[in-house]
């Protein structure tokens, strides 16, 4: 009985005008576009300079700031007030105020103060910007200071090595996570929408009037999407390798095994949503809600460990959190299956709970 249902699902999928294109185009577009735009690297910070000193040294400093890819000198204001005005209108993000007698104070060895004001409406941009500027100022002062002093300040040498992502490329951080989202959308939400559409058309009633068992109907809906999910993941691997030259450090068997556990969990959640939705609209709205929570709380963009404690507790119940952890671990650090057993088991547990609930709440009778 089951194979007839399965054959039906595959035929319907193949004949659908939209779905086969979606499962090919969705991962391709996501992988080609999102790694470039979903970045927390701060670039092109607009700087307004108030140069009260107007000497060779102060101009050298301004030139140094403008020569990096992070800053763009947007304006040379006469007064600080004028610069503030331009920040208020959003024309500049950062004000660098070089005081009068800047050069003289440095040459005479007194030291000088450069004043920086950052627009912190976007907190990250503000703090990263002023951080970069401080670094530039520090290296600038090292360049122009007399020898003995610079030796002094270099008493402690700090050297940083970036492990696992030596070029500090934000794309490498995002790609494994984006793959998780692609798999989530395709395996979690498509089968659910498929079931709700059968409710809307009315064919589900015909099936409910037959001796088809609940688990048979649900499994027949899910199995095709599990296979499609693995296919889509493979497309993502290929793109990440060809376009970004980014190859998983860990092995593929581990990757696919953990992915299967994740697919199992998310498709169960999808079916659960479909059981409580009468129309596609309703199902979509509930999914939007889940998607929002998943995107913002799973550690996709911001680390879960920097969230408040109560939020971390909520995040602990979000399956994509574990999958994104595992994906990043495998992709960037080459973590082996043994170290991912906790994530794997948690995902399986979610899977069993969701699917069990889905079967229990699926009603053949009202």
């Amino acid at each position: 009985m089951f194979r007839y249902l399965l054959a039906k699902e595959f035929k319907q999928f193949k004949r659908n005008e939209f779905l086969p294109r979606l499962v090919v185009m969705f991962p391709i577009m996501t992988m080609l576009i999102m790694p470039w735009v979903a970045t927390l690297d701060i670039k092109n910070i607009n700087v307004s300079v108030v140069d009260e000193d107007n000497t060779v040294t102060s101009r050298r400093l301004i030139e140094k700031i403008g020569s990096t890819q992070y800053f763009e000198i947007k304006e040379r204001a006469i007064t600080y007030g004028e610069a503030l005005e331009s920040m208020r209108f959003g024309d500049s993000d950062l004000i660098v105020n070089i005081p009068y007698c800047f050069e003289k104070d440095i040459v005479t060895g007194q030291g000088s103060n450069v004043f920086i004001a950052a627009n912190a409406v976007n907190g990250t941009k503000g703090s990263m910007g002023s951080g970069y500027i401080s670094q530039i100022l520090e290296s600038f002062s090292r360049e122009i200071l007399p020898e003995p002093a610079s030796k002094n300040s270099d008493a402690v040498n700090i050297s940083v090595i970036s492990k696992y992502n030596p070029t500090l490329d934000y794309k490498k951080f995002m790609i494994p996570a984006l793959m998780s989202i692609v798999v989530l959308m395709i395996c979690g939400f498509l089968p659910a929408l498929n079931i709700v559409s059968e409710k809307e058309i009315g064919t589900i009633e015909q099936i409910n009037a037959t001796p088809v068992k609940k688990w048979q109907f649900i499994l027949a809906k899910l199995l095709p999407y599990w296979i499609i999910g693995l296919f889509v993941l493979s497309i993502c691997f290929l793109i990440s390798w060809i376009v970004y030259g980014f190859f998983p450090a860990g092995n593929f068997i581990t990757l696919y095994t953990v992915t299967l556990a994740f697919i199992f969990a998310m498709s169960g959640l999808g079916i659960l949503i479909s059981n409580f939705s009468q129309t596609m609209q309703q199902a979509m709205l509930v999914m939007f809600f889940f998607m929002l929570v998943f995107n913002l709380m799973s550690g996709l963009f911001t680390p879960v460990s920097s969230m408040p404690e109560w939020a971390q507790w909520i995040a602990a119940f979000i399956p994509p959190k574990y999958f994104i952890e595992a994906m990043r671990g495998i992709y960037q650090m080459g973590v082996g299956f043994r170290d991912l057993i906790p994530q794997f088991i948690i995902l399986l547990c979610f899977g069993f709970c969701f699917n069990l609930l889905a079967i229990v709440t699926y009603r053949k009778r009202s």
């Binding site: 007839y4 249902l5 009315g202 064919t203 009037a209 037959t210």
Partner: protein, 246 residues
């Protein structure tokens, strides 16, 4: 063997304060064509859904094909065919694929499906449409096909919920010929309809008004009892009493 294909006692279905089916009792003999009539909203579809195991009764007892409607609904589903009001085949599957799907679901042996499909298509004069998508067929053809699919596995009883709604008179006549053929094969037919000429074709009919069965007899006896010439008039006399609005 059980005497009745369907045997219902004091069946009631409530949705909150609304009593859709109000304490109905009736039985359907094996091999009978039973017409289940009533105005829109009289509770026909609700009652039928309970009999098919799609809905729980609020109270009352009943058996379908010898199985209890409250506790053995999955057994009932193996012994019945069901053709719902909404179109019940898959639009995006071909004619033969629909037949194969439902035959498979009802456990028709694999090697029988293929030859019996060909046979069915030949009797329906459908062989040329074997590979057409169901969505491309005219409504009348769809309904005939849906009925054939519903009885493909030789069920004990077939439930038809307004099978001829929106179908032209010629196709309706052909449809009733198919119903008679099924009945000759020993399949009990339980059919709801709005067409009173169709009511005349039934062995016995019941007429539901506001959730209750107001009359149940052969069409001939009903006409004699109400001293009228057609089932249409019988229906008007009874349906006029209805107080429930849709």
């Amino acid at each position: 063997m059980m005497e009745y294909a369907i045997d219902v006692n004091n069946l009631t279905k409530k949705f909150g304060n609304f009593t859709a089916v109000d304490n109905i009792s009736f039985n359907v003999k094996r091999g009978e064509i039973f017409g289940f009539l009533g105005a829109n909203g009289a509770g026909k579809t609700t009652a039928m859904r309970i009999l098919c195991g799609l809905s729980f009764p609020t109270s009352g007892k009943g058996t379908v094909a010898g199985y209890d409607i409250a506790t053995q609904s999955e057994n009932i589903k193996k012994s019945i065919g069901y053709m719902s009001q909404k179109f019940s085949l898959y639009d995006d599957l071909k004619v033969w694929e629909n037949i194969r799907l439902f035959a498979g679901i009802y456990g028709v042996p694999e090697k029988e499906i293929e030859p019996r499909t060909e046979e069915l298509l030949k009797t329906l004069d459908f062989t040329s449409e074997r590979n057409s998508l169901v969505s491309k067929l005219p409504l009348g053809w769809k309904q005939k096909l849906a009925f054939s699919v519903a009885i493909f596995h030789n069920p004990c009883i077939v439930f038809l919920d307004e099978p001829t709604g929106g179908v032209d008179p010629e196709t309706r006549r052909q449809f009733w010929e198919m119903i008679y053929e099924a009945s000759d094969r020993g399949i009990t037919v339980f059919v709801t309809t709005h067409y009173m000429d169709e009511a005349e074709y039934c062995d016995r009919v019941s007429i539901m008004v506001d959730g209750k069965i107001e009359a149940l007899d052969t069409p001939l006896n009903l006409k004699n009892k109400f001293r009228v010439n057609s089932m249409e008039e019988v229906f008007y006399l009874l349906a006029r009493k209805a107080t429930r609005n849709e």
